[in-house]
Symmetry: none
Subunit: 194 residues, 4 copies
DNA sequence: AATGAATGAGGGTTCATTCAT
DNA sequence: TATGAATGAACCCTCATTCAT
């Protein structure tokens, strides 16, 4: 890859990070190209040098965030340990995202009328893949006899939903410490699986 | 209350129902005053006779749906039966709303992005009250010895999160029938509580 | 037709006339919704109350002008007189448009990338119809023995082209008087046909 | 002239040829600097090394095509043959340009809308000169007794108008072959002059 | 109580143009 | 010479909102 290509990729990523900030603050619809550009100290028009249109930019935001989280989970999934141990790590990671990068991670929620028809498929694929990582750890636990699950898909959805919901109510200043939270969640999730 | 006032209230409710239909179809941002009016066979301008502005209309949509759901839950809560039986009914009701009303029931939506500052507080209050109904049934189960819960708040959040998440992936045409879904969810939720 | 519908039609036509003025001054691309609106002492957005989009407005401009000219020719065509007499009138009318309403009539030229696929067909139809009026008078002359034409289509195109070209060079202040012009053109056109 | 200057001139001409291709495909407004540059495997910015701005480039396109056509006509005009023979050749040449080069040769276009004030005069001069070549062949025919024309200017305008109009309706795929077209046009034009 | 009509702010997008490198 | 990157003006279009009738 040529230097110039690398440079452009870097800039694209910077823009994406800015965009993610704005999108999480305003929502997909509320985010304007103007504000995203301003965050980068650029003008609206310049964004179109890097992205075809708003839809494309939004899509890539979603993709980036999802890809980051996905990668972390994949590493944990391939690590050592019992299914329970791995799952605990994954839960911690997911909650970490939800709580620490709150806004960013919020993007896992709701694409819908934001994406072009040709983008929707990849988005759904990514999401499916992300979810499947939890399927895998569940499956692993079942095969080792650690877990007993009759409806693995349902259980996975319960787990994901419960965790994603955290962003709605968790406040860093609240009564519950983050670590405590992870513990409790992991505990109940394990309970669900045993 | 005068007759004319009653008539206005009735009309307001009709508009709300139309608006709910549109919002559920297009989302809060996607819903236009034009389309909502068209659904009522009115013109845009007329809506402003009944509602201060779009924000107000959207807010009342959310409120109405939430109030309806709340009422249903309250009736179930005051009905006969064991805590488990009641909870099963409540789960079914909640899932029904989440799946059927989708957008207007959407409790995952950040209220800050959708509603005016003066509306946010009432919304949060309603949501809090709604959530408390689940606290009550859990508490009842604990007091009767049906449930054993060490962290009732955490468990309630898991339950609500799991159920709210359903709208993200449930499709009426999908593999899972709604009734089946309710069954499974109830099962796992009970498991969490025992 | 209700009064309100009549009123809206009238307004539409007024807008069209303004738009025609602007379009003839700036060309299809050069004409902006802003300037058209300003000509009407309206704001941009109001135009969209009457027309779906710019393409629609442009299309209707073209249609209106063409329809006006068409009607005049049709009346002449159905009048009394020999083919030659009728043709002379038609030539005079066409040249009148070209010279007097210069800019407006200029619209007969060039649609191309201005119209939506669904509009192109009607446009072509209208143009074809307009041209066919000249075909008819030629045919009439041939059938009465006044004219002798082996390639009526070619001749018609020569006639139309020659007349449309007038707008490019005719200036009211120029050496040639308009009436003289019509005479000469008619003379040569008749010569072509005999 | 230095070598480097020659090189620049060559490049300029190459760019013009590319630009002509694009303009003929998209029209003056539709042609973008981006697409013209792409056709040359260059980037937008580079064009500005060779041309002051888009207007300049468009102007030179028109000029180049007009100059080429002019030269061809001049050669034909100075060649052997009767006035009729020469005129037939000139008609064929003109029609060729009108059909093949379409937009850039388009003499129907209002120069005012396309070109800068300082470019308009040269354009009009070129066009006038181009037209005069037809005057010359008519004059020649009159002086040799081949033609009998009472209003040579009018006739020349009819001829030019008829031919320029061709681009408005001629389609390569249409019913009429180009060669046939030339024949017919020449025939009728001669008829006009005899 | 309702409407028709207009408004105006703002958003997405395009593109000629510039300029440091 | 050429390019990459950025700019900014202009344009089309949408839509919540207003207000006289």
């Amino acid at each position: 890859m040529k230097l110039s290509e690398k440079k452009i990729l870097k800039k694209k990523e910077q823009i994406l990070l800015s965009a993610i900030t704005i999108v999480n603050r305003r929502g997909y619809d509320g985010a304007t190209m103007e504000e995203i550009a301003a965050e980068m100290l650029m003008t609206k028009g310049s964004l179109y040098y890097y992205f075809k249109n708003k839809g494309d930019l939004m899509y890539q935001c979603h993709k980036l965030v999802l890809a980051q989280a996905t990668q972390e989970l994949e590493e944990e999934l391939q690590g050592e340990g019992t299914a329970e141990e791995i799952l605990r790590k994954m839960v911690a990671t997911h909650i970490n995202y939800a709580v620490e990068e709150k806004e960013t991670f919020n993007m896992i929620i709701e694409p819908k009328q934001m994406f072009n028809p040709e983008q929707i498929e990849p988005v759904l694929k990514l999401r499916k893949h992300y979810a499947s990582l939890f399927d895998q750890v569940i499956e692993k636990g079942v095969s080792t006899g650690e877990f007993h699950v009759e409806e693995p898909i349902i259980v996975r959805m319960i787990i994901l939903g419960a965790m994603n919901w955290i962003q709605q109510w968790y406040r860093a200043t609240g009564r519950l410490a983050k670590e405590e939270l992870k513990q409790h969640f992991a505990e109940y999730i394990i309970k669900l699986l045993k």
